[in-house]
């Protein structure tokens, strides 16, 4: 920091003292002020609130003692929860507190800081605030790095942050943000600490409190700013029930073990400590892979609630044009697909409360209701009136709402779903693998895949499908589906994404002047409008108007080198139309016309 300050002083010819003052202000803005008393008071309040809005919080004790040992040992420990709701960090802190584990220092977005009273309360519960983007502010970067790393190195309390960077609006895991993780791991690369432990935590909600706002955001209606008055206005939340929450602590990982043979720490010993070294290629690769395995672990500990299965089934009916289903029928379907999901490795939360159809429907309200023996998906649910201004049809609200819930079952089924999609006719295992990896590459922005595990993920998924009798492997390694109902179920999971991607890419291909540049946001909302205006598919897929999916589809074009994205200005330019039409052609061959 001292070095950065003196370079800055030279570069800007400002007096060092002034820069020092600036730094002090920034630190003041960042720092936490942990206080046990405040934590206890807030804890009591939180408990009350939770009692009111959540029917139960289930905490799995597995790994809890390992976590306690790690935190007691005062060695560096990162706690990395999944992020679906603002309740996440409140729950984690409260949970650790009640298990007598040192409560973590939490890296929080600066949005909260501006909230009156609440901001300083959070500070006293151990939160410190970082700006969402500070790309070129060297002083801020230096202070942030130093502050964060000193928290890691001193190890007095665990450091908690969200690797997804922000709450996932879609129910799917987001692509990991690597910045914070890189900063946290640097003390290990530098050998300032001998190891760092990472403990992923998964929080699964039957229903998140932010659902309504997130649905609107996905369609392009911005979220309101975090403010205390907003929070008070949001007190109506207290009158609703959000069902159950399931918390699972993942097995702690040792960075040292994971980095064995991948990162040579010795390489940094030729540079003195006082000279900062940018992360080497091997370190960056390691951070990315580690981030992916953290997310993978979070996913494997995620819990599927039956209401999400109900949403999945209802969407499949809607895709066939059927907006209401008899209770008996849907009940059978839900039980059948729950059974299938368990076979495919999902943790299903099936108990007296979660498994009652009326309660499931309640968790999907206001989008789904029961009306004279039928389970009905509302085509213009309350809340959808916000869409009118953007010219989006009301039914999209329902589709996106159900889609978010369906996404919760996708973590564990995506590989099987892609395989189901490409497996038609007689194809050998090798051919299926090739096509699987092509689709996987296409969706790499949408789902979190480990970079080097194409083969092993594929094999695992095929073995699993074979072992539960859905797929069989015949002569000459020809793979064949035995269970056609399961096949349709799986295809319906992945179809909305594939269709939206292809539509969006076609829009890019047909409507763009390759010379001009355009902002990412503009392009996405243009695509959204164009797809919407084609109209016919809307009855099937909410994803077609889901800006998040559209944005991912554009970003994945960047990965495929079809276009360039300037990250800092969020500009899109240089579309390679020939390459894109090649890619589209080859994909259309793989993805048979939709069912």
């Amino acid at each position: 920091v001292v070095r950065v300050m003196s370079t800055l002083a030279q570069d800007t010819s400002a007096p060092l003292a002034q820069i020092r003052r600036e730094a002090a202000t920034l630190l003041e803005e960042m720092g936490h002020r942990f206080s046990g008393i405040v934590l206890n008071c807030v804890g009591a309040l939180v408990k009350k609130v939770f009692r009111r809005i959540v029917s139960e919080v289930t905490v799995h004790r597995d790994n809890m003692s390992a976590l306690k040992r790690l935190s007691d040992s005062k060695k560096p420990l990162l706690i990395v929860p999944s992020h679906r709701s603002y309740l996440d960090f409140i729950l984690v802190t409260w949970l650790l507190h009640s298990y007598n584990i040192t409560t973590p220092i939490i890296a929080a977005g600066q949005d909260f800081m501006s909230m009156k009273v609440v901001g300083s309360l959070l500070r006293r519960c151990g939160a410190f605030f970082i700006r969402r983007s500070f790309g070129k502010d060297k002083l801020y970067w230096a202070l942030f790095t130093e502050y964060t790393q000193s928290l890691v190195v001193r190890g007095e309390a665990p450091l908690e942050f969200f690797i997804e960077g922000t709450r996932s609006r879609t129910g799917k895991s987001l692509q990991p943000k690597l910045g914070m993780l890189t900063v946290c791991l640097e003390p290990y690369f530098d050998s300032r600490v001998s190891d760092i432990s990472i403990c992923p935590i998964t929080l699964s909600y039957e229903k998140t409190v932010e659902e309504h706002l997130h649905i609107l955001e996905l369609m392009g209606i911005p979220k309101p700013c975090e403010s205390t008055s907003g929070l008070i206005q949001a007190r109506h939340i207290l009158n609703n029930s959000y069902g159950a929450v399931d918390v699972r602590v993942g097995a702690p990982m040792s960075v040292k073990e994971m980095a064995r043979g991948k990162v040579d720490r010795k390489a940094r010993s030729l540079t003195p400590r006082s000279v900062s070294v940018p992360a080497s290629p091997s370190e960056r690769t390691f951070v990315r892979d580690l981030a992916h395995s953290i997310i993978t672990q979070q996913q494997s500990n995620s819990v599927v609630f039956p209401c999400a299965v109900l949403a999945t089934m209802l969407l499949q009916y809607v895709q066939d044009g059927q907006w209401s289903v008899p209770i008996r029928q849907i009940e059978r379907e839900v039980i059948w697909s729950c059974d299938l999901l368990i076979k495919l490795g999902c943790h299903l939360r099936w108990d007296n409360t979660t498994s009652r159809l009326d309660l499931m429907v309640g968790m999907l309200s206001p989008v789904v209701s029961i009306d004279s023996g039928m389970v009905v998906v509302d085509q213009s649910p309350p809340g959808s009136e916000f869409l009118r201004d953007r010219g989006i049809e009301a039914q999209c609200y329902s589709l996106i709402s159900l889609g978010r819930r369906r996404n919760e079952v996708m973590h564990m089924t995506i590989h099987a779903a892609i395989i189901a999609k490409v497996m038609y006719g007689t194809k050998s295992r090798d051919q299926v693998l090739t096509e699987y990896s092509a689709i996987r590459e296409m969706l790499a922005q949408e789902f979190v895949f480990m970079c080097h595990s194409v083969q092993s993920d594929f094999n695992q998924a095929v073995e699993l499908l074979c072992s539960v009798g859905i797929v069989s492997e015949g002569n000459e390694n020809v793979l064949k589906f035995k269970d056609l109902k399961a096949r349709k179920f799986l295809i319906c999971l992945v179809d909305p994404f594939l269709t939206t991607y292809l539509d969006s890419w076609n829009v890019c291909l047909s409507s763009r002047d390759p010379a001009n540049s355009e902002t990412l946001k503009n392009l996405c909302s243009r695509i959204q409008k164009l797809i919407h205006s084609q109209g016919e598919k809307l009855h099937k897929f909410g994803e077609s108007v889901n800006l998040n999916v559209i944005q991912n589809s554009v970003l994945s074009l960047a990965k495929l080198n079809v276009l360039n994205v300037d990250k800092s200005r969020k500009q899109i330019y240089c579309l390679d139309s020939d390459l894109l039409s090649d890619i589209l052609n080859s994909l259309t061959l793989i993805v048979r016309p939709l069912i």
Partner: protein, 597 residues
């Protein structure tokens, strides 16, 4: 020279242990009735005294238990395999050199150093089916050695030179797959001081002389080399050169490479030496640098011309307590920045300090040591956490005025780091204990503990982290290996340089619940070395590479660097007569240590 005057006789097993450290008459023994550990014999300041607190320390810190004893097995000499004799070689050697032995005890004594693994195998009679030398030859002059090396080349006999046998790198282990006759060259008969030159302050000495004999005899003439490695009692001058030894007082006298003026080494190609004894020379890459640290793979060091100094007018000890190790290290760095180098400065970390306190006995210096600490602690140091504070011990040496001045300046610097003088006695005791502490490992063996020391050198900016990380890593590795009791790990900073320091670690762990103790030991040692390297530390500061650290050589000196050493080896010793396989010979752990167990 008369055997009476020597550290140990030609047949060293007459006075030295065959399966442990040092003299037979000196050892730590537990008096089971009183629960007090005693140190036997009369050679050391601690000898003959009871140590009432030591066993308590052992029980509390290491969870030691009187019920889990693992006594050493008696030597079963009949099991030592017969030698692979080369009759003609033996006959011809005997024309030059009358001391030659195929006695199984002699062979066993020359087949190992003092690595923890070697001693463990010896104690459990597991060394008996290892490859050991087939014949031991005791040359008594440079000429003898030249003839022996010639004959070895003629009859293709492998040679492993040996001095005091205190190696802790596996350097004396015979390669398991060596099918030729292996001859150990015991150099300790070559112990003459050819001359002392008081004008130029150098002395020419045969390489086999043992450290304590060299010092005693030089001191009779009013001189000293000032070279004091912790193994001084048993290690030899030639051994120091062959391993790049470091002495406690290197700040005043220099390490071995600074002390050496002339060297003679017999190689398969003949003798390598310089024709002048000058303070410095520019003659291309220095051939001394090839001999220093060659660990017996290039030839036999026979004569050393070494700097000597008049015995200093005054030697004074001092000690300073610091609140925590960070303060202590900052102090060391500060004095070396100011160019203040008293003869020796050592920093004992808290674990080491508490161990030192446990060594107090009912009499003499040691008793006062502990009382002083207590007194100071109570009167001045309230606020010093006894579980955090560290002790720095200092030796001043030289003219009285210089010593006085140094002492005043250093205490002033110490006070800047909130250090508080803990008196002269505490400093002195620390150094006097050095030699007897080496006997503790055998006591540990008796109660199911494996222990070892290792060392490294590291730049100043990484010293603190290295010590912390190595200790932490060791605890983690032990836990992962399923070692139930607390492992012990203590650190000290033993040498300061302008750009860094030497860190020394002791570690010990209970092996009673392990099916393969040596495998665990190797895992711990290698993991520690990896951690050291990752922290910017070196492969070794003064113990050398030998066989146990050979696998880390290439990454330390680059593939081209290793290739250079191999080229030199091939050029000097095409038949691989000096076949110990140290440094570059075996990559990976030695087959000896892995097999069988």
């Amino acid at each position: 020279m008369d055997d009476q005057e020597r550290a140990f006789p030609t047949k060293r097993q007459k006075s030295l242990k065959w399966n442990g450290w040092g003299y037979k008459d000196s050892q730590f023994l537990l008096n089971e009735q009183s629960g007090v550990i005693e140190f036997t014999g009369n050679r050391y300041p601690m000898s003959g005294s009871a140590l009432p607190y030591l066993f308590n320390w052992f029980q509390q810190e290491l969870e030691g238990n009187i019920d889990t004893q693992t006594p050493a097995q008696p030597l079963d000499i009949s099991k030592i395999p017969p030698p692979v004799s080369c009759e003609k070689f033996n006959e011809e050697v005997q024309q030059w050199c009358k001391f030659i032995s195929e006695d199984p005890e002699d062979r066993l004594m020359h087949g190992h150093g003092h690595l923890c693994e070697e001693i463990y195998l010896l104690r459990n009679n597991l060394y008996l089916d290892k490859r050991i030398p087939d014949v031991v030859i005791y040359p008594s002059s440079h000429g003898d050695v030249e003839q022996i090396v010639k004959l070895a080349n003629k009859y293709n006999v492998a040679l492993i030179p040996m001095g005091g046998g205190t190696s802790v790198s596996g350097a004396l282990i015979c390669p398991e797959n060596e099918t030729r006759t292996i001859a150990s060259l015991d150099m300790t008969e070559m112990n003459r001081i050819h001359w002392i030159d008081p004008e130029n302050l150098v002395a020419k000495i045969e390489a086999g002389i043992i450290g304590q004999d060299l010092e005693r005899r030089l001191q009779k003439e009013g001189f000293t080399t000032g070279h004091q490695p912790d193994s001084l009692e048993f290690s030899s001058l030639g051994g120091w050169v062959a391993t790049r030894a470091s002495g406690m007082k290197k700040n005043v006298y220099g390490n071995i490479e600074d002390l050496v003026i002339g060297l003679k080494m017999v190689t398969s190609m003949g003798t390598i030496e310089k024709s002048c004894q000058v303070p410095r020379i520019s003659s291309g890459p220095d051939i001394h640098e090839i001999i220093l640290g060659s660990e017996g793979i290039l030839g036999v060091i026979t004569e050393v011309t070494i700097k000597v100094k008049p015995i200093p007018e005054c030697t004074k000890y001092g000690s300073v307590l610091f609140a925590c190790i960070e303060d202590g290290i900052d102090f060391l760095q500060a004095i070396s920045r100011q160019g203040l180098y008293p003869a020796s400065v050592r920093l004992l970390d808290n674990d080491q300090l508490r161990f030192g306190l446990a060594l107090k006995s009912g009499k003499g210096l040691i008793e006062r040591f502990s009382n002083n600490i207590k007194k100071i602690y109570l009167s001045h140091l309230k606020g010093f956490d006894p579980l955090k504070m560290v002790l720095c011990t200092i030796v001043f040496e030289g003219a009285k005025e210089k010593v006085h001045m140094e002492e005043v300046t250093i205490m002033k610097v110490a006070s800047q780091f909130n250090g508080i003088s803990a008196g002269e006695e505490n400093g002195k005791t620390g150094y006097l204990l050095t030699f007897s502490i080496a006997y503790l490992r055998d006591f540990g063996f008796d109660f199911g503990y494996l222990s070892e020391s290792f060392e490294t050198s590291v730049p100043w900016d990484r010293v603190k982290d290295l010590i912390k990380n190595v200790k932490e890593n060791l605890t983690t590795v032990c836990a992962n290996l399923g070692i139930s009791r607390n492992p012990y790990c203590a650190a000290r900073v033993t040498q300061s340089y302008d750009s860094g320091a030497c860190c020394y670690f002791y570690f010990g762990f209970y092996y009673g619940d392990l099916s393969n103790p040596l495998e665990a030991y190797t895992a711990i040692e290698e993991s520690s070395r990896e951690e050291i390297l990752a922290n910017g530390g070196s492969i070794s500061h003064h113990h050398g590479v030998g066989k146990v650290r050979a696998k880390f050589l290439e990454e330390t000196i680059s593939p081209v660097g290793k290739h250079t050493l191999i080229a030199i080896k091939k050029g000097l010793d095409p038949q691989n007569i000096f076949a110990s396989g140290n440094i570059i010979g075996l990559v990976g752990p030695t087959s000896l240590l892995q097999s069988k167990l």
